[in-house]
């Protein structure tokens, strides 16, 4: 069995699985990081991803264009994030409950629209999904090549977005404003930064990424939309934000680790161990908790997270 685990195909396959399983989580996690860095916790993530998955699928099915579907998924993510912005930024409602409300609403709506549109067919409708792209030369590297450089374009985009978001946050004026809004909105306001607008834009940008993360599942990894397609990946993304200490690169490492463990457990199941499959399914979550213990010492949550900003409120 050890031999099987150490074989080249096993390792190559595992790396590939890690990248695929991590892709939707990376998208959503980056979206959540941008949002939380501006001081807003978006628990609507799971519902927004499902709406993105559904919308992307529906639009692709009716237009025949995958990229139009991805675009529509981003758009619908932005719309829901905008609703979230009205609730928590402009009205200052509880971020926990508004987010969960959005998830409840969006989940219901996604299935509602799907059911109205498709009725109840014998087999679910499908689209022709994205195909994988082999990067010349790089994909020929032994062991790693096929694992790292033979993927969907969305996976490559997700990977490129990691440094992009990091640069945005740390190296640009916009990023400095976002971080300041999330740490001390009062400070941001007093230097002329529009706190509410910044938060809204971050929510909207984050919503777009969450929507795309959802669409990856229905347009690339799969070719159909089913009820549970997100399957808690939104919540995992929230966990990864904290795991990564609100840093895009560390968060992405977390997402990849999660993808790796998830891919590994599915492979271990195939090895004929006499262990309940539930134990395997549990592994990624347990590993994440254990990893959290390691990173938690220096946790630095954005100081203004969860706090609405209203100028004339005293003692908030």
């Amino acid at each position: 069995m050890i031999g099987e685990i150490l074989s080249v195909t096993f390792i190559t396959g595992l790396i590939g699985a890690m990248m695929r399983m991590a892709t939707p989580i990376i998208f959503a996690m980056l979206g959540e990081i941008i949002t939380e860095r501006a001081g807003v916790l978006n628990l609507g993530i799971e519902g927004i991803m499902l709406m993105g998955a559904m919308t992307g699928f529906l639009v692709t099915l009716s237009t025949g264009s995958l990229w139009t579907g991805v675009f529509a998924a981003a758009l619908v993510g932005m719309v829901f994030a905008l609703i979230m912005a009205v609730l928590v930024v402009y009205l200052g409602l509880s971020q926990h409950v508004s987010g969960l409300g959005i998830t409840l609403f969006a989940t219901g709506l996604a299935m509602f629209i799907y059911r109205l549109y498709f009725g109840s067919p014998t087999v679910p409708p499908i689209v022709k999904p994205f195909s994988r792209i082999e990067i010349p030369l790089l994909s020929k590297i032994p062991i790693l090549g096929q694992g790292l450089f033979h993927h969907y374009s969305l996976t490559y985009i997700a990977v490129l977005l990691i440094p992009a978001v990091a640069i945005l946050l740390y190296k640009t004026k916009v990023g400095l404003k976002i971080r300041t809004v999330g740490e001390n909105p009062f400070a941001a306001d007093t230097v002329g930064v529009n706190v509410n607008l910044t938060r809204t834009l971050c929510l909207v940008a984050g919503g777009a990424l969450m929507g795309i993360g959802g669409a990856f599942l229905t347009l690339a990894h799969q070719n159909m939309f089913l009820l549970d397609v997100i399957g808690g990946r939104g919540w995992v993304a929230v966990a990864m934000v904290i795991f990564g200490n609100w840093d895009p690169v560390k968060g992405a490492i977390g997402a990849l680790l999660f993808g790796l463990v998830d891919g590994l457990q599915l492979r271990l199941q195939g090895l004929g161990l006499h262990v309940s499959f539930d134990i395997f399914l549990m592994i990624p979550y347990v590993i994440t908790i254990i990893a959290l213990i390691g990173v938690s010492r220096r946790a630095s949550v954005p100081a203004a997270l969860l706090q609405p900003y209203r100028r004339e409120d005293k003692g908030g």
Binding site: K171, T172, K173, V174, G175, L176, K177, R179, T180, E183, N184, F186, A187, A188, D189, T190, V191, G192, V193, N194, S300, A303, R311, E312, K314, G315
Partner: protein, 526 residues
């Protein structure tokens, strides 16, 4: 806009301003009939306020008089209900700080507006809107910042993270932030409340340079000596109205205090001589680390007797905070012992300090001493809610509790809507009275007061000084830790000076040599 002066062009990156012309009498700022209400509380009532170029104007008033509110209105941070604002003769609509900044107005707030996790430079560059570029230009910003630092003599390392700075240094960052933006009107809301005397001197130098250049400063402070020293003019607010304004040269401290409070205020408490009793607080060889893991208090040994006030002077950030925190029970020590009334404290266990007969008046009242979202009564109960008097079998005795709260509110004349009012609705002075009531009502053996009058108005300060003296007369040992050298020298029977965690020297309170203490505070041994 004929006649009006142009807004300084911040894109030029230079700090020259229109020359200060005596002939130009258009006020830089003119606020007319400003009224600002919070629900039915009128914080500003028909206020007129003008400010001229090159002028340093002090704004005075008790806690809650409406000073900060008026300035927030001027800074575009608060909307207002009635009135108008003109900048350089032109009526302006200031809908947000952005508009105020565009009009050359800068404000240093009573509460810091820095991001602790970011560097000094990051905190400062966010203030600029001059360059239309996407990426941060930290290099250019650093150069510009160094220029300003040189020009005004305000040195802070641009690359340290703000949370590692002392409060005085943070204040410098705030000022640099405003200067970096090239504000021509600088509002400073109690900038000296947290500064050491030397730092205040430095600040005043800076302010004078600014005024020379033709910039204007609005200066808010409760320290009347400072106001006399730095301002050209004073405006006094009471209950949201302007009650008086004068050229500084035409008034004195006593008159200012009376104008603010509306009654006679004792400028200095009579020193009462009491024969000191047996030692009641003994600190032995204390060594303490700070949050950064550095030695903050070194080999600190101290004895305080009944019936004396021991003043601890020193520039803030020299270990006073950490030393107090150990005695309060919220910080552990590397080595050392502390005993109160002969009983040793269990260091690092707040409950031990609570039960020891030590009255604790913390420096950071809002974050450490009070539960701002709970009621006045809850705050009065914080330390003794579990005692047999107020609880039995885990149930609280509400009759007892209410009666006690009522008594304390009356005895300590706490101004509040009642025991069930939220603490955050109280003014700073009255919040401090809650802590005093809580700590002193049990007749403690030792009173440890850390910066007890910081940010408080003259009336409240007077009250607290009086109480400290009363405690001493009653027979408690009192320790007063303060940056305010006047306060320490005015009240203490003995004074020690802390520098870098060590005791530099000790002098008797009466007739102490100010010069000598000042030297010790800066680390010069003699």
């Amino acid at each position: 806009m004929p006649g009006a002066q142009p807004v300084p062009d911040s894109t030029k990156g230079r700090y020259d301003l229109p020359a200060k012309t005596a002939a130009n009498d258009t006020p830089v700022i003119e606020m007319r009939g400003i009224t600002k209400r919070f629900l039915d509380n009128v914080a500003n009532d028909q206020i007129d306020f003008t400010l001229h170029a090159g002028e340093i104007c002090a704004l005075l008033g008790e806690n809650g008089a409406g000073k900060t509110t008026l300035m927030n209105v001027l800074f575009g941070y608060y909307s207002f209900d009635e009135g108008s604002i003109s900048v350089r003769g032109e009526q302006v609509a200031l809908a947000s700080p952005k508009d105020a900044i565009a009009n050359g107005i800068g404000m240093i707030h009573q509460h810091f507006t820095l991001v602790p996790t970011q560097t000094v430079l990051e905190n400062i560059v966010i203030a600029t809107r001059d360059e239309k570029r996407f990426f941060l230009n930290l290099k250019g910003a650093r150069k510009k910042l160094l220029d300003i630092q040189k020009q005004f003599g305000l040195y802070v390392d641009p690359d340290t993270r703000v949370w590692t700075l002392s409060i005085g240094q943070q204040q410098k960052v705030e000022i640099l932030k405003a200067l970096y933006r090239n504000s021509s009107v600088l509002i400073m809301d109690e900038p000296t409340a947290v500064l050491a005397p030397q730092e205040t001197v430095e600040l005043f130098k800076t302010l004078r340079v600014l005024a020379e250049e033709g910039r204007s400063v609005i200066f808010i402070s409760h320290k009347l000596h400072e106001v006399m020293e730095i301002s050209d003019r004073v405006v006094v607010l009471r209950n949201g109205k302007v009650v008086n304004q004068k050229r500084t040269a035409d008034t004195d401290v006593k008159e200012l205090a009376n104008m603010m409070v509306g009654r006679e205020v004792l400028e200095r408490i009579e020193r009462q001589v009491v024969e000191p009793g047996e030692p009641v607080l003994e600190v032995n060889d204390l060594n303490v680390l700070n949050d950064k893991g550095l030695e903050a208090v070194k080999n600190f040994t101290l004895t305080v007797r009944r019936g004396e006030i021991l003043g601890i002077a020193g520039v803030s950030g020299n270990g006073q905070t950490e030393m107090c925190e150990v005695l309060f029970g919220v910080r552990g020590a590397e080595t050392g012992t502390v005993s109160v009334g002969g009983q040793p404290l269990r260091l690092g266990h707040p409950l031990s300090s609570v039960r020891s007969g030590l009255a604790r008046i913390p420096e950071d009242r809002i974050h450490m001493g009070l539960l701002m979202d709970m009621t006045v009564e809850d705050n009065l109960q914080l330390e003794n809610h579990w005692t047999g008097r107020f609880a039995r079998n885990g149930l609280r005795k509400f009759d007892e509790i209410a009666a006690n709260s009522q008594t304390l509110i009356t005895d300590y004349s706490i101004k509040t809507d009642g025991k069930d009012a939220p603490a955050k609705s109280l003014s700073g002075g009255n919040l401090q009275k809650i802590i005093l009531a809580r700590e002193l009502s049990s007749e403690p053996e030792v009173v440890l007061a850390s910066q007890p009058t910081r940010g408080l108005d003259v009336g409240a300060t007077e009250y607290i000084h009086q109480r400290m003296v009363e405690e001493k007369v009653r027979g408690a040992g009192v320790v007063l830790v303060s940056d305010d050298l006047d306060e320490v020298m005015g009240l203490s029977d003995r004074i020690i000076v802390m520098y870098e965690g060590e005791i530099m020297g000790e002098v008797a309170g009466s007739g102490a040599d100010r010069e000598q203490i000042g030297l010790w505070m800066t680390g010069v041994k003699s």
